[in-house]
Symmetry: C2
Subunit: 452 residues, 2 copies
């Protein structure tokens, strides 16, 4: 399926605030608005984009090129009469799209979640129909006055416009359209109305404008500097992983997300962060082995915080890759192992009983088990294993990576790595026993549900 993206308007309210570029190129956490739109479409599986430009269109063209840098194919259409209304920009694409069964339609200044796009792709308009992405959660709309409202009855739109008094939802600038939209826009134009909403109103009158509830997924119309701030907040809020352990959730992420929001503006890649993280672990190991326990512990905790950044940067800048995930997890295992070796060496050389070697070995043996069991669960069921579902008491064992590195730091601070080793020699194995029990139940349930 192709997507039609409208990037023709002026967006003057964003320019007022000291930004002098053209609106679709407004930068947000290291990517321009239009790049975020195109990359979101790509992640949702759409690789061919028709881009309508108008106001300072050449700048957008120069910036995006043919789209291959972003993994999409862009076909540009110039709309010289963009100032007459956004309906004219949609109409400008008629020739190119009239042969399509249906196409996605969105705006260059609307940041939407991939899930919202996927919902719109999933609905299938019949010939002459259009689906309008609608947000029914009105209390979360920042600027309700400016929003395009929708009155719905039985899943069909009965009225659409900025000035409705009665409405249940808001149009979020995301549509699954058919070429019938072009005829509707022309009909509206004859009556002197040239906005997209006018065209949809024509279809609504014929009962052919349907609603697609985007549910809990998010979208933001970036019109003013306030909207950009909100968009930034929402993007950052969605970074932490549901797979986080306790320490990551309530401490590490608070810092790593801020760091990621800065690093997003640089060219630093997620894989570089993964490697830097492993280097920090190596440094912590050396510090432990040479008796600098305090610094060693702090370095390990810094590594733990940075451990989140590779994934955050990848999500923020659409750089997720299966190889990146593989590299990250291999390097994490090496990082963990080196720190434990350093702690053992440090404790042993600083006068601990030789039995500390056994503790170190047991800790080293236990350290990959948490991840290994999660991966095995994933391959068996096709679903990620979420440590959070193990409940607070198991989480308090701190046997996931974030927890283990906290134990490392604390034992460095009290300058007794042997204490840390003693804890880490036990907790991962307790976690293995608990998980075997939990997973046994989950896997049996899973294969039972397969039987149905």
């Amino acid at each position: 399926m192709k997507a039609l993206v409208i990037a023709a308007g002026e967006g003057s309210r964003l320019r007022v605030s000291g930004y002098h570029g053209v609106k679709p190129l407004y930068p947000l956490l290291g990517l321009s608005l239009i790049e975020r739109v195109l990359l979101t479409l790509r992640e949702a599986g759409i690789r061919e984009v028709v881009l309508v430009i108008g106001f300072r269109g050449q700048e957008i063209k120069d910036y995006l090129g043919d789209g291959s840098r972003l993994g999409v194919k862009i076909q540009y259409i110039d709309n010289p009469s963009w100032s007459a209304g956004n309906g004219t920009s949609v109409l400008a694409a008629e020739k190119v799209l009239q042969g399509e069964r249906s196409f996605l339609l969105t705006m260059a200044d609307h940041i939407v979640s991939q899930e919202a796009v996927e919902r719109l792709i999933k609905v299938r308009p019949r010939e002459h129909e259009i689906y309008v992405g609608a947000d029914f959660k009105l209390d979360r709309i920042a600027d309700l006055e400016e929003a395009t409202k929708i009155l719905v009855s039985d899943g069909k739109i009965t009225a659409i416009g900025k000035k409705l008094n009665e409405f249940q939802a808001v149009d979020c600038g995301l549509f699954h359209a058919t070429p019938a939209l072009f005829d509707a826009l022309k009909e509206a134009q004859v009556q002197g109305n040239s906005s997209l909403s006018d065209g949809i109103m024509v279809m609504a009158r014929q009962g052919q404008a349907l609603v697609c509830d985007i549910g809990d997924t998010w979208w933001i119309d970036v019109d003013k500097p306030d909207d950009a701030r909100l968009a930034r907040k929402v993007l950052l809020m969605n970074l932490p992983s549901p797979r986080d352990g306790l320490v990551a959730r309530y401490f590490n992420r608070k810092i790593s997300v801020v760091l990621s929001s800065w690093l997003a503006w640089t060219r630093i890649t997620p894989n570089q962060v993964s490697i830097f993280n492993a280097v920090l672990c190596f440094l912590s190991a050396i510090l432990f082995a040479t008796g600098h326990f305090l610094w060693a512990g702090l370095t390990a905790q810094i590594a733990s915080i940075i451990d989140g950044i590779d994934g955050e940067l990848a999500r923020l800048k659409f750089l997720k890759s299966p190889f990146g995930e593989l590299l990250d997890s291999v390097l994490d295992r090496y990082g963990d192992g080196l720190i434990l070796m350093g702690m053992t060496a440090g404790a042993y050389l600083n006068g601990s009983h030789p039995l500390v070697l056994v503790l170190g070995s047991l800790a080293l043996l236990g350290s990959p088990m948490s991840m290994l069991m999660k991966e095995k669960f994933h391959t068996a069921t096709g679903r990620r294993y979420l440590p959070a579902q193990e409940g607070m008491w198991v989480n308090l064992l701190l046997a996931n990576r974030d927890g283990r590195l906290l134990v490392v730091m604390l034992s460095g601070i009290i300058r007794l790595p042997v204490v840390g080793l003693a804890i880490l020699a036990v907790t991962p194995h307790v976690l293995v026993l608990i998980r075997l029990k939990l997973m046994k139940r989950l896997l049996l349930k899973n294969s039972a549900s397969l039987k149905v």
Copy 2:
């Protein structure tokens, strides 16, 4: 979908050879023929079976009960006139199956691979049609004279029977039928012909008997003691995993398959074997730590051989479970770790330089990496990673579990665990580097193909 299984015949040729039970209950590697048929159907997703009994039917009924022990629901139908031909046994199920769109039909004495059943399920006969599972690889048919031959033209059967002079394929006793078969059987009966083939011939004349090529999948009609021997061989031949390393493929499996063929007759479960394997590893560790290097090494190699048996038993007796796989891999990691700890302790206590502790730690750190990377690859791509594709030179690193345990044994035999540790401190990390490179390419190719 339901399956109709015919278990009504006498099977006298199998009884001649000293076996006095009824043919469907003939035991083969720990399971009766009929159990193998029902379990194969279950694995292919069929849970409702109509079972036609006749000759000594009560024995079969007593043995299988309602089928819940095997995870299927059995509905019995008694065919008192079974001796008149197997067509009468199919006809006996008419009342029960006439409302079905289609059903699978097979014989209690035909051992077929799950893949063959899945192929037959996948083809979709239209009303009045039947698909006949056909084996075109005639050179592998043991007793071609006894086989039911098929003459095919344009995917349609033009003649079927034991006495054809011209034929391209052989009927393997597996059908995807529609209730039209019952009418065809009745028509054949009127003409005095009461075999299943006679009914299919009626449909063939109307161009409604189609062929489903079972390709490379296997099936065996167990008629005589010779067939049972062949079936046993084929079942055992299919046990080794394509994920085996070099040592497993060319040495361990030769022994483990024989052991499995014995253990199949006992009540020993795959999980019990996994646990026994871990106990052997623990024993090897103790022997290493106490300086009994030779015995320690041999015990490790025995563990390596036994490591294959849990999976073999699971495949042989339809006992595969995701939890079993999880338990096996967790216990394998513990077994590996304990042996390495034992080797390190043994080398250190027997006068090696303290640097052997570093070697031991590096070996311990490297030991889970092979598996971890394979699992990560699996979750990223949905496909298993096959070490065999890494090529002979990488395989010769012996960095998979079977190879590592061979190194353990050899270093025990030469009574120098430090040599084994030195090798195991290096090779897993070399493998990590090689795999990172190989997997990077494979994962990029994979995500590229997703884009199309």
